[in-house]
């Protein structure tokens, strides 16, 4: 996606609401309140984590590809109950949010960096990339209708368990 039109067309309030959505997104993941994560999406939604390589070359494979809030809930169940892994902290840094109006909602993109820290180990740069999102009004609040995480860090340090 090339850069969206000037956010001048978005009201200050809306812009801040979008920023807040990103902040809450990072906050619930980094606090490990995973069960709240699906609630930031609409029932019908798309969440995809995509290597930049596949994205740029038009290859459809995603590292994670979910098509409904149900699939997001199944993921939460997996990371909390079924996927054995060494637990780690995540820390999301998000900047460069660009917002453009789109029908009732917004198209937005932002840069992100996720830092991973395992118990007793040094923090490491884990995953960097960009969000390419579609955000809509949903029951009086903003939610992600579509969230694409296109990551530069194609060589994943072993595994990717928690959402990006």
């Amino acid at each position: 996606m090339s850069a969206p039109p000037a956010t001048a067309f978005v009201s200050v309030e809306d812009r801040l609401r979008v920023e807040e959505l990103y902040a809450r997104y990072a906050c619930c993941l980094d606090d490990r309140r995973f069960e709240e994560w699906p609630e930031l999406f609409t029932d019908e939604c798309v969440y995809r984590v995509v290597p930049r390589e596949n994205y740029d070359r038009g290859l459809p494979l995603a590292t994670l590809s979910f098509e409904s809030k149900g699939m997001l809930r199944d993921r939460v169940y997996a990371i909390t109950e079924t996927l054995f892994h060494e637990p780690y902290y995540t820390r999301h840094l998000v900047s460069g949010i660009l917002v453009a109006p789109d029908g009732g909602g917004f198209r937005a993109r932002a840069n992100y960096l996720v830092v991973r820290t395992k118990a007793g180990a040094l923090s490491e740069l884990y995953n960097a990339g960009r969000y390419v999102d579609h955000i809509v009004e949903d029951a009086g609040t903003l939610r992600f209708k579509e969230k694409l995480c296109v990551f530069d860090s194609e060589l994943i340090p072993n595994s990717l368990i928690y959402p990006i």
Partner: protein, 418 residues
Amino acid sequence: METIPRPIELDWHPDACARIPYRVYTDAAIFERELERFFYRGHWCYVGLAAEIPNPGDFKRSAVGERGVVVARGRDGAITVVENRCAHRGVQFCQTPHGNTKTFVCPYHQWSYDLKGNLIGVPFRKGVRQGDRVNGGMPDDFELGSHGLTKLAVEVWNGVIFASFDHDAEPLRAYVGPEVGRYFERVFDGRELAVLGYSRQRIPGNWKLMMENIKDPYHPGLLHTWFVTFGLWRADQQSEMIVDERGRHAAMVSRKNDGGRSDAVTAGVTSFKENMVLHDERVLDVVVEPWWNGPTVTMLTLFPSLIVQQQVNSLSTRHIVPRGVDAFDFVWTHFGFADDDAEMTRRRLRQANLFGPAGYVSADDGEVIEFSQRGFAQHAGLETVCELGGRDRGGAEHNVTETLIRSMYGYYREVMEL
């Protein structure tokens, strides 16, 4: 920085392939010998799919062991593999992951090579005329012919490209053998492939641990909740463990059942979740494909570098690229067939959520491999125990066995002389 590895003295009881010394996972000297004897001599390594470079001039970077190579398709359509290292002063000349080109030009002094690796141009080879004299240039006896890139032997088997630094390696099909080759040709029967995309992970464990993982039918029904709970893979299934005559390659073949509780195979298994239901079952919307002829899963290990996966509708090759004795890169290429309809493609992509670095039944394989490596590092003198299903080698009619791992180490000891 190169260092001299500990000299190899393992007291490994002859033919005790049911016990594997930790040292083989941690010793740099052993790893160097593995590279020499498995990756660079007498064996075939996977480098890619023909479908990745469909057109003349297409190329992609790949690797054989720790050596970078370039896989290209010549103007004549023939596929060639050369080492990514200039004959002049060693520059890894190709820095773009993939592309299309007529020649390879090294950036440093512009020596140029054709896609077969022949040196075709050396700037100022005959010197540079200045006034009445000719300056410099290469010696008269300098022959382009003797300064090409290192060329690898290449065999393409139904669209899958293998290469070897050893031009005397036995033919590929003989190398794989009929037992496992049969299952290779079940997936790769010559149909045109459609590449769906890549996943890459760096796993901090010795490369052999991944070979073991895919020769280990014991763990899927225990480590992977999804397998045991939804019956994709568990101990009570009809399975066959197939191995080639030398014991290096293998096929794990099985048939899914309906999962659910079973005193025999789920009692006390903490990963079994009796009441687990998916909120959205499309991820497991399996449709039988005619070419399966029965098995719902076939996992092939083509020693030392390739794993071929068919798990219901999800297909991938997995390329093992060692990175020192204690890590390897694991490169997944998911694919379907050119004649898949949109529905089937979507299905393969949905089921891909089970695989790769984040997959429901494979993210934890990388994790346990990392934990194994850590365990080995703690205690140089010990050994693992691989005695499920006995202590001998060969195939089996079931999956309650570690025989494929023992078979691999039988072959390993022979070649490594350990």
